[in-house]
C-alpha cells in the first residue's frame, strides 16, 4: 500500500514552469499563500522544505501536509518588426508532501517530497523561433529525508540528503531553413528520463524571543547529468542522412546524447514575527545561484550513421534574488487567512532571453486559507497570481553558418495563475 502510494505520487509529480529560470515556487499551500515565505515560520510540516531546522519546534508529535497545485502558465510572443505572433499555454500539477515526526523532545525526523524545478513550454511547431525551441519539458522530483535537532529553545539545526529524479524532453529545428525534400523543417528531439542525482539541504533557526524567529536555509546545487539519452532526428533530407561528401557535410541520424543541467543552489534567510496571538508576519530573501547555468551543452555520440556536432547554447544566467513577505491572520481555531507578495528577479541577462524559458522579472500575489475540519485535520487552499511586465527581449547567440550572434527576439508577456489545495493532519 505504501509502495503504491509513492508510485502514484511519482506519477502526479509533474511540474511546469514559471518563476525565474526554471525554478517553480509552489512548495506548500500554507506558505505559498504567505508569499512563499517560510524559512522562519513554524506552521506545519511544510517547514521541512523551507527550513528543516524548524521541524523540531512543531508542537505535535506527528504532522503531515500534502497538496497540489493546478498551474496555468501562458506566454505570448509577438514581433511588430516581422508581424509574428505566437503563444504557449501549459498546465501542470506540481505536488508536495511533508511528514514530520517528533521522535524525542530534541529530535524530529521527516520526509519531504517536492518539485522545485521544472519547465514546460510548447510553441507552435515550426514557429519562427523553432530553431531555438519547439517544445521543452523539464522535470525534477526531490525526495528528502530530514533530521531536525533542537539545541535549545532558542536554536535548532536541520537538514538532510536530497535524492533527485528528473527527466528532460527538448525538441527544436536543426536550422532556420533546413528542411526535407517536401519542405518540412528538420528537427531534433533529445529525451531522457530517470536522471538521478544527490544533493542536500541544511538550515538553522534562531528564536531570540518567543515572538520572533530567524531562519537560514541552504539547498545545494544539484547537477542533473543526462547520460545516453535518446537523440532523434525527424524529417531529415537525404543529403543529411547519407554518408558525408565534404568536410562540412554531416550525417544527421538517431544517436544518444549527454548533457548536464544544473539545478542551482538556493540560500534563503528570513524572519517572522508573531505580532499578536492572531497576526504573524514573515519576510524571506532568496538568493539562487544561477550563474552555474553558463551554457546548455549537448554532446551527441558520434557513430557511422550520426555525426551531430556538439551543441553549445550560451545561457550566461546570473545569480538572482527573490524578496517575499507574507502575513497570517488566525481569528479562531477554525480559520486561518493568509496573504503575501513577492518580487522574483529573473536570472536571464540581456541578449540571453531564450524562448525555452521566457521568464522575466515578476511580482507574485498570493492568498489562501485553512479551514480546520476537525482539530486535527485541516484543508488548505491557496492561489497564486504571477504578474510579469511585458518585455522586449532577444536571444542573440544562435549559431548559423559560423556566425555565433544570430538573434531572435520580440515582445513577450507571461501570466501564471495557480490555485492549490492541500490537507494538513497532525496529532
Amino acid at each position: 500500500m505504501r509502495k503504491l502510494l509513492s508510485l502514484t505520487m511519482m506519477a502526479l509529480a509533474t511540474s511546469t514552469a514559471f518563476a525565474g529560470g526554471y525554478r517553480v515556487s509552489l512548495q506548500g499551500q500554507k506558505q505559498l499563500a504567505m508569499g512563499h515565505t517560510g524559512v522562519a515560520v513554524v506552521n506545519s510540516a511544510e517547514v521541512l522544505f523551507f527550513n528543516p531546522a524548524g521541524a523540531v519546534y512543531l508542537k505535535d508529535r506527528f504532522t503531515a501536509s500534502v497538496g497540489g497545485n493546478a498551474l496555468f502558465a501562458r506566454t505570448k510572443y509577438q514581433s511588430l518588426e516581422n508581424n509574428l505572433r505566437n503563444s504557449t499555454e501549459n498546465t501542470g500539477t506540481p505536488i508536495s508532501a511533508y511528514i514530520a515526526y517528533k521522535a524525542t523532545d530534541w529530535l524530529s525526523v521527516g520526509l519531504a517530497v517536492y518539485t522545485p524545478y521544472g519547465s514546460a513550454v510548447e510553441w507552435d511547431k515550426d514557429w519562427d523561433g523553432a530553431h531555438l525551441v519547439n517544445d521543452i519539458d523539464l522535470k525534477a522530483f526531490y525526495i528528502q529525508p530530514i533530521a531536525s535537532v533542537k539545541i535549545s529553545d532558542q536554536f535548532s539545526v536541520g537538514g538532510g540528503p536530497i535524492y533527485v529524479s528528473g527527466s528532460v524532453n527538448f525538441n527544436r529545428n536543426v536550422g532556420r531553413s533546413v528542411a526535407d525534400e517536401q519542405g518540412n523543417k528538420t528537427d531534433l528531439t533529445i529525451d531522457k528520463s530517470g536522471v538521478n542525482a544527490w544533493g542536500w539541504s541544511a538550515g538553522f533557526m534562531f528564536n531570540p524571543t518567543d515572538k520572533i524567529r530567524i531562519g537560514v536555509n541552504y539547498r545545494s546545487e544539484i547537477t542533473m547529468k543526462a547520460r545516453n539519452g535518446s537523440a532523434t532526428v525527424n524529417q531529415v533530407p537525404a543529403y543529411l542522412s547519407d554518408a558525408p561528401t565534404s568536410p562540412q557535410d554531416i550525417v544527421l541520424g538517431n544517436t544518444t546524447f549527454n548533457a548536464n543541467l544544473p539545478l542551482p543552489a538556493e540560500l534563503t534567510a528570513g524572519f517572522s514575527v508573531q505580532l499578536t496571538d492572531k497576526w504573524l508576519v514573515a519576510v524571506d530573501y532568496n538568493r539562487t545561484f544561477w550563474n552555474v547555468y553558463d551554457a546548455l551543452i549537448v554532446d551527441f555520440k558520434q557513430t557511422p550513421t550520426s555525426q551531430i556536432p556538439q551543441s553549445v547554447n550560451p545561457r550566461n544566467y546570473k545569480d538572482a534574488s527573490t524578496y517575499r513577505i507574507g502575513v497570517q491572520f488566525k481569528p479562531n481555531e477554525k480559520f486561518s487567512f493568509r496573504a503575501g507578495t513577492y518580487f522574483d528577479e529573473s536570472p536571464v541577462q540581456k541578449g540571453y532571453f531564450a524562448p525555452e524559458t521566457p521568464r522575466n522579472d515578476s511580482v507574485g500575489y498570493t492568498g489562501g486559507l485553512t479551514y480546520m475540519i476537525t482539530s486535527k485535520l485541516g484543508v488548505d487552499v491557496s492561489f497564486l497570481y504571477l504578474h510579469f511586465k511585458e518585455i522586449n527581449a532577444s536571444y542573440d547567440h544562435y549559431v548559423e553558418d559560423g556566425n555565433p550572434n544570430v538573434s531572435f527576439g520580440g515582445t513577450y508577456k507571461n501570466v501564471v495563475f495557480s490555485p492549490g489545495i492541500g490537507l494538513s493532519y497532525s496529532f
Binding site: 496555468f72 531553413s177 508577456k413
Partner: protein
C-alpha cells in the same frame, strides 16, 4: 434569491480572475498595427524581368515562383488593404523542374540542383512539362518577364507564339500574353495598378556581360530592331523606353517604386571562378613554357619592330610555374592585332579579368580528347569565357548611365527608387540582416548553405535573396509613403535544392 445573487457574483469574480490570466500586450500586434501610409495596394502590379518573375536556379519553377519578391511583398501588402496578387500559372510544371517545352522539344533547361554524388550544380533530371504553346492569355499582377529588356515591354508581338522559333518573341510572355499582339506593359495596365514596382533594365546590359562581352555596345544606334540578344542598349533607347513605361504606369495616378540595375560584375557568375585556378606539375610546366616560347619570342620581335609597346609585350608574355595559382590563358580582342605576323591575341588573365561561372566546367577540359590541347591552358579561352577590363568598363558605364536615367525619370514622376545597385555593392562586403546574420554575394558552398543568397545560376537570388530584395522595397515604401509594413526574415527562407542523386 439573495443566495442566488451571491453565487452569481462569485462566479463572475471567478471568471474575471481566470480571464485576467490571459496575457495581454500593451500594444497587441494585429493587422491594424500596420498601415499603407500614402500608398494604395489594392491593385499591385510588378513590372520587370527574371528578377521580378521569381526566376532562380536557371529557370522559373513552380515552388521557386512562390518566392518572387513581388509575391513576398504582396503578402505584406495584404495586411494593409492589398488585393489579390496573381502570378503566371506554373500548374503545368507538374514535376517542379522548371524549363519549357515547345511542342515536344525542350527549349530551356530544368532547374539547377546540387548533386552531392558528383559535387557540382547540374540541371535536375527530367524533361520539362511546361509548354510554351499552352497559352494562358491572362494578365497577371506579376508581369516580370524573364529575358525582357526595357524596350521589349513596349514591343507588340513579344508574346506571339509564332515568334518564339525566330527569337522575336519571349516564351515566358507568350504563355500569358492576352493576345499575340499584346505588349507586356499593355497587359500590365489592364490590371489598373494602384501601386507598382518597376525593376526593368538589367538585361539591357546583363546579357552582354553574361555572354562574356561577345555582344556589341550599341551606344549610338537608336534602332533596337537591329540589336542582337547580347548587345548593350543605347542610352537614348533605354531612356525613351523607360520614360514610356513610367508614363503609362503613372498615367492614372498610381504610386510605386522603381529599382536600379545591380552591378552585374559583382554577382557570383563573375566572381566565383578565379583568374588563376590552374595547378601544374613541373613536367607540364616545362612543356607549356616550351610550347609558348615561340609566341613569346614573336612578341619580342614585334616589340623590337615597334608594333607593340614594351608594356603590351610584357602583358602578353605567357609563362607558367610549377604548383597552384597559374592564370588561365585567354584571347583578348583588345590587344594589338598581330595576326599578319602569325601572332595570335593571347595573354594570361589577371585579377582585372572576370571569368564566367560556366568556365568552371570548361577550364581543364581537352579539345577532342587531346591531352596537349587543354582549354584555358594550352588552348586560350575564347572571348565568351572572360570579361576583360574594357568590357567591364563598358558594362559599368552603361549600368551607371541607365541608373542615372532610372533615378531621373523616377524623380520626375515623384516615384522613389530602391537602390538595388547599392544593395548588391553592400552584399559584396556583407549586409547585416536585422537578426545579426551577415549575407554575402558568394556562390553556394556547404559552409554557407544557410546564408547563401544567390541561386545556383550565380545570377539570380534564391528565395532568401529575394527576401532581402523584398525588405529593401519595404524599407523604401515605409520611408517614402509613410507606410508601416513588417519586414520578412531572410534566414527562414530556403536555399539551394540539394539531392543525393540526379537520375
Amino acid at each position: 434569491m439573495k443566495m442566488k445573487n451571491n453565487k452569481f457574483i462569485y462566479l463572475a469574480v471567478l471568471a474575471a480572475v481566470f480571464a485576467s490570466c490571459e496575457p495581454e500586450f500593451d500594444n497587441k500586434v494585429t493587422n491594424g498595427s500596420y498601415s499603407a501610409g500614402e500608398a494604395d495596394f489594392s491593385s499591385y502590379v510588378a513590372i520587370g524581368n527574371s528578377l521580378t518573375a521569381g526566376y532562380m536556379d536557371g529557370t522559373v519553377y513552380r515552388s521557386g515562383q512562390k518566392y518572387s519578391y513581388p509575391n513576398i511583398l504582396s503578402q505584406q501588402f495584404a495586411l494593409v488593404g492589398g488585393g489579390d496578387f496573381t502570378q503566371p500559372s506554373y500548374e503545368d510544371d507538374v514535376n517542379n523542374t522548371g524549363g519549357f517545352l515547345l511542342g515536344t522539344t525542350p527549349i530551356t533547361a530544368t532547374k539547377l540542383i546540387i548533386n552531392t554524388s558528383t559535387g557540382g550544380p547540374q540541371p535536375i533530371a527530367g524533361v520539362p512539362t511546361s509548354n510554351v504553346a499552352t497559352l494562358q492569355a491572362t494578365a497577371y499582377n506579376n508581369m516580370g518577364v524573364p529575358g525582357a529588356k526595357t524596350f521589349h515591354l513596349l514591343a507588340p508581338g513579344y508574346g506571339n507564339l509564332a515568334g518564339v522559333a525566330t527569337g522575336q518573341a519571349n516564351p515566358y510572355f507568350v504563355r500569358h500574353a492576352t493576345s499575340p499582339a499584346a505588349t507586356v506593359l499593355g497587359d500590365a495596365m489592364t490590371k489598373n495598378p494602384t501601386f507598382f514596382t518597376n525593376w526593368i533594365g538589367n538585361n539591357d546590359v546583363l546579357f552582354y556581360a553574361i555572354s562574356g562581352g561577345t555582344g556589341v555596345n550599341q551606344a549610338g544606334n537608336t534602332n533596337p530592331a537591329t540589336y542582337g540578344p547580347n548587345d548593350i542598349t543605347d542610352p537614348q533607347v533605354f531612356a525613351g523606353a523607360y520614360s514610356a513605361i513610367m508614363d503609362a504606369l503613372t498615367s492614372k495616378g498610381a504610386k510605386g517604386v522603381c529599382a536600379t540595375i545591380p552591378s552585374v560584375t559583382s554577382i557570383p557568375y563573375f566572381t566565383t571562378v578565379p583568374f588563376n585556378p590552374v595547378p601544374l606539375d613541373a613536367a607540364t610546366t616545362a612543356a607549356l613554357n616550351q610550347g609558348f616560347a615561340q609566341y613569346n619570342g614573336g612578341l619580342q620581335l614585334a616589340q623590337a619592330g615597334g608594333l607593340i609597346s614594351a608594356d603590351e609585350a610584357a602583358k602578353r608574355k605567357i609563362t607558367f610555374h610549377a604548383g597552384a595559382g597559374n592564370a588561365v590563358t585567354i584571347e583578348d580582342e583588345s590587344l594589338t592585332n598581330l595576326s599578319a605576323l602569325g601572332i595570335p591575341s593571347y595573354r594570361q588573365a589577371t585579377a582585372a579579368d572576370l571569368v564566367v561561372l560556366p568556365a568552371s566546367s570548361f577550364i581543364g577540359t581537352t579539345v577532342g580528347g587531346n591531352p596537349l590541347q587543354v582549354n584555358g591552358v594550352s588552348v586560350p579561352l575564347a572571348d565568351k569565357w572572360v570579361l576583360i577590363p574594357s568590357e567591364i568598363t563598358a558594362i559599368e558605364n552603361a549600368t551607371d548611365t541607365f541608373n542615372t536615367t532610372i533615378k531621373t525619370i523616377a524623380a520626375s514622376k515623384g516615384i522613389p527608387v530602391a537602390d538595388m545597385h547599392a544593395v548588391l555593392k553592400q552584399l559584396v562586403t556583407g549586409i547585416a540582416s536585422a537578426d545579426g546574420q551577415i549575407y554575402k554575394a558568394g556562390y553556394f558552398s556547404s559552409a554557407t548553405a544557410n546564408t547563401v543568397v544567390f541561386s545556383l545560376d550565380g545570377i539570380h537570388p534564391n528565395a532568401r535573396g529575394y527576401a532581402i530584395v523584398a525588405n529593401e522595397y519595404i524599407r523604401v515604401i515605409n520611408e517614402f509613403y509613410k507606410a508601416h509594413l513588417p519586414y520578412v526574415i531572410p534566414g527562414s527562407y530556403p536555399g539551394a535544392t540539394i539531392l543525393t542523386s540526379n537520375n
